[in-house]
Symmetry: C2
């Protein structure tokens, strides 16, 4: 936004066509979501930042909801990257069971780290209604090509392989593990546990993952 002559003027654009408006709009929307969550993604503001008329957005997104949905996928992708980063820090590759444990923990820790570091994005990643189809949507994948859901699945498969989890209990294990971590994140972020500071969150997060490991 640019003030000149006491009048708000758009950022000038030499060409009538923008060139890469879709990306520009999405990037601006992500930035808005980053600080302010889903409700901060206001269509007119996004177009303003892109230096374009409000209705131009409708050439690229069916409506505001479609834009928020796109942000949500981007947020899930960023989450996947965070999880991958946590996984990459594992160095005990010898014992399979140990490795599987470490991997599962990494998924959980990465999830919670992301929620704490990027509350706005985290909120829009899951507070927006989705189908399960998005759990395998490449748009929400990280650098490994896997979505957060799939990364969790891989870790659990390894658990089974290592003999630490029976086939019977493997079923729905994603959902159980995910529920615990997700719920904690929600309660800390927007819920009654907002008062917890970072170290407390870390400690309880560890205990939560302990519970999941023991209880699965």
């Amino acid at each position: 936004m640019n003030i000149a002559n006491n009048k708000i003027t758009r950022i000038k654009r030499s060409t009538y066509h923008h060139g890469d408006l879709y990306r520009t709009l999405l990037d601006a929307a992500v930035e808005l979501a980053r600080n302010g969550g889903a409700e901060a993604v206001v269509l007119r503001e996004v177009t303003r930042q892109a230096g374009v008329a409000p209705n131009a957005a409708y050439r690229h997104f069916a409506d505001r909801n479609a834009l928020v949905q796109a942000v949500s996928l981007a947020a899930q992708s960023a989450l996947a990257v965070e999880i991958e980063h946590e996984i990459s820090k594992i160095n005990t590759h010898e014992d399979l069971a140990e490795f599987a444990r470490a991997k599962l923990r990494a998924v959980g820790i990465g999830y919670l780290r992301f929620a704490q570091a990027e509350p706005g994005l985290f909120g829009v990643a899951f507070s927006v209604p989705h189908d399960l189809s998005n759990a395998t949507n490449p748009a929400s994948a990280g650098e490994s090509g896997l979505t957060p859901f799939q990364l969790l699945g891989v870790a659990l498969d390894m658990f089974v392989e290592a003999g630490a989890l029976s086939h019977e209990r493997r079923m729905f294990a994603e959902v159980l593990a995910w529920s615990a971590v997700h719920g904690f994140a929600m309660l800390v972020l927007a819920g009654p546990l907002r008062a917890l500071d970072k170290t407390q969150t870390e400690i309880i997060g560890q205990r939560l993952i302990d519970m999941v490991e023991r209880g699965l």
Copy 2:
């Protein structure tokens, strides 16, 4: 709302003063939240239904957010009632350990039942930022005078009493149990697990509570 002479007219009111506007507004807001969640609570619509000018609401609520907050407390109270109802169905009062187990399960089941039966209210109960202070706020209590959080606490205390949970692990146990159940509810309601039908939800819900019991 009342249509007459092709013109929207308010419901007539003989007295200038409404009498019990606070309750009327809150009730209308709760009803809107019930089908439509938090975002369906629109201030003007609430006043419309009460047959009153939009700004009349500001005599009773600081702003829209305060109204939604009040709805949130009401929703938590309704949740407490549901949990109490589930607890009241327990009939094995002999063995303390058995009773504690049943009680913990009842809290979890009641929580999930409520989430499924009243998704709109459930959403506004926790998706709205709160302090932990509200976890003991009488306005969010059920008929027993206890809030959902407190009901869970009582069940866990009983667990300790029965020797099924060490004092060491008692700490933060509310948060762990709550996280798991809450996360599942969120994922089923607004998240990627929306496709699950009622029976599947029931089954996985049971397994989730199994996990919590084992893992705590």
